[in-house]
């Protein structure tokens, strides 16, 4: 008998081959981090000046850890789901032994792997090239990243519902891309925004996961004084709960609305 794992690996391997043959997607993924570093260096430097105890390097690395999956997972995967649906691949896969969730997860394997790989490289090169402080709570950093990726996979599945062609994915993904980048504190800290706006932004699907990541790294998600390893857990709980709630909601919505075949 095949198992969920063996089926996931078989599908993931095929999807990895496809990603490696998709030059546009690959180029975007590899060119993105250096471009972001150049683009974000200056704003992050100003931000660091406002928050004593937080380094430019740390802001840059955490910001990038949040931004990379936005494109590599969310955008890429939306396009991948749309492409597989359009070629009737999803329809054909559903006739086999793999379950719906395995098909969606299998398609996500290369995007998620690439995001994780880029994150590791980023942290590694950050440790070497920038004067990085060690994360206060590495568990929360990893947890935050994992939850961020999970919620983005769900958002990609949902975005594919309203996307007819691979080309139009550039437009349909824009709202989530923009809102998440500016609303989750990846580029601008939420504390620098008007209170009411910040309160709304804190409820966005990607915000709790990214704030967990920040909290894990700096020991504070904003301007509050940093706490130690033990102290971060108390702050993390509401963020964890909200992130998990969003993932559950995205899963439910995907189960209900995901389109496995093109519209006629």
């Amino acid at each position: 008998m095949t198992t969920a794992t063996s089926r996931l690996l078989a599908l993931g391997r095929a999807e990895t081959t496809l990603l490696l043959r998709n030059r546009t997607a690959l180029f975007t993924a590899l060119a993105l981090p250096p471009l972001l570093v150049v683009g974000l260096a200056e704003p992050m430097k100003q931000q660091a000046a406002d928050f004593p105890g937080i380094s430019t390097g740390g802001l840059l690395v955490t910001g990038l850890l949040g931004l990379i999956p936005m494109f590599v997972v969310y955008y890429n995967l939306t396009a991948a789901y749309v492409a597989r649906r359009g070629e009737l691949v999803l329809k054909r896969l559903r006739t086999g032994e793999a379950r719906d969730l395995e098909i969606l997860a299998g398609t996500a394997v290369p995007s998620v792997s690439l995001a994780v790989l880029l994150s590791v490289v980023l942290c590694g090169s950050g440790a070497v090239g920038l004067d990085l402080s060690l994360p206060v709570n590495p568990v929360l950093v990893i947890l935050g990243l994992a939850l961020l990726i999970a919620v983005l996979v769900g958002l990609a599945a949902l975005s594919s519902v309203i996307t007819r062609t691979v080309e139009s994915a550039g437009i349909t993904t824009l709202p989530v891309l923009l809102l998440s980048q500016f609303g989750s504190g990846m580029i601008l800290p939420l504390d620098s925004m008007p209170d009411q706006l910040a309160a709304v932004f804190r409820l966005l699907p990607t915000t709790p996961a990214f704030q967990l990541l920040r909290l894990g790294w700096f020991g504070t998600e904003g301007s509050a004084p940093a706490v130690g390893f033990a102290g971060t857990w108390a702050d993390a709980l509401p963020l964890l709960a909200l992130a998990l709630a969003w993932i559950a909601a995205a899963g439910w919505a995907t189960d209900r609305w995901f389109r496995w075949e093109p519209r006629r």
């Binding site: 095949t2 078989a10 043959r21 070629e87 329809k91 054909r92 559903r94």
Partner: protein, 323 residues
């Protein structure tokens, strides 16, 4: 040994309904009360006009969707609710299924094999459908017929006990179609149960142990080819000469039991007894020296049965009003 009497049927469908769209009269009933039994080792063909509900029925039996009403058992299990028990033992070829265009034939097979219990070697499956020489070619470079054969190869990968083929030879050239028929016959000889849909009547005539003709979401006729044809009239067609000169007053003889229709000089005779009616007709023509132009006499065929079914209105019935 004949085990068909002791063994439960491989596919058993009773009272099947499939409704699309909103409940009530707003939607559409694609399948409207269908019963079907396929025994082990049998090749059953589902025929029907476009829109008769063949693919809708197939999808339900394959377990791709839950029926609105009715009971389905495949190998003794509900194919939708108990898919884990059923899927590893069946192979499905959709009417329209796809593969990533940037993967090669072999890569596609390998991925599929990783998701198939007891998969045979990929090359063996490709060889069965004559695609082994194309193994390193990307799917996007395959012809339509080659894609259909790749689809068939993947359906065969897990050595299925039950094979579902939805229009397997559509888009194939005559040679590839003959090869597919040969393969399907071999599989059946090895004991595979096959449920196939087709709109090539000769395909059903050639392959099927039993067949059913669907129309308007129901099975209208069912049985072996001989049974389906039985009761259908044979047909004699010919053209009478111009009504002038010595043919001015020519009149057909009485043909007992036959039904004669005339369309200008073109005459069609439908008869349950082809030989006696034809003897009568030809004797009359000889006695009166009447030349019968474009004379054509044929026994009842599946085509005849099919057209008779297809020409009846499909009794549109108000949704959900009946039961």
């Amino acid at each position: 040994m004949d085990t068909s009497r002791t063994e439960p049927p491989v596919i058993e469908v009773t009272g099947l309904h499939r409704h699309y769209g909103p409940a009530g009269s707003g939607g559409f009933d694609a399948v409207r009360g269908l019963d079907l039994t396929v025994r082990r080792g049998e090749l059953f063909a589902l025929l029907g006009t476009n829109g008769a509900g063949k693919t809708s029925t197939m999808e339900l039996i394959e377990g791709l969707a839950a029926p609105t009403e009715g009971r389905i058992r495949v190998l003794g299990h509900d194919p939708y609710r108990e898919r884990t028990a059923v899927r590893p033992r069946i192979g499905i070829m959709l009417q329209e299924g796809g593969f990533p265009s940037e993967l090669t034939v072999a890569e596609t097979g390998r991925a599929w094999a990783g998701m198939t219990t007891g998969a045979r070697p990929v090359d063996e499956a490709l060889d069965l459908v004559g695609l082994l020489h194309r193994r390193t070619v990307r799917v996007k470079q395959l012809s339509g017929g080659e894609r259909r054969r790749l689809d068939l190869a993947l359906a065969l990968l897990g050595r299925p006990e039950v094979l579902f083929l939805d229009e397997p030879s559509t888009g194939l050239d005559p040679e590839a179609r003959a090869a597919t028929w040969r393969l399907v016959r071999e599989l059946r000889a090895q004991g595979t149960t096959v449920l196939l849909t087709t709109h090539y009547l000769e395909e059903a005539e050639e392959l099927a142990d039993r067949l059913a003709i669907m129309h308007g979401g129901r099975i209208v006729t069912e049985g072996t080819v001989a049974e389906v044809i039985a009761g259908r009239p044979s047909r004699i067609a010919f053209e009478l000469p111009e009504r002038s000169g010595r043919f001015e007053t020519v009149a057909l003889p009485a043909l007992p039991g036959a039904e004669v229709t005339a369309e200008g000089r073109r005459i069609t005779v439908r008869t349950p007894t082809l030989q006696s009616t034809l003897t009568e007709l030809l004797g009359w023509a000889a006695r009166h020296e009447v030349p019968l132009g474009a004379l054509d006499a044929r026994s009842a065929s599946l085509e005849e049965a099919f057209l008779a079914v297809a020409s009846t209105p499909s009794t549109p019935e108000p949704t959900g009003a009946v039961r």
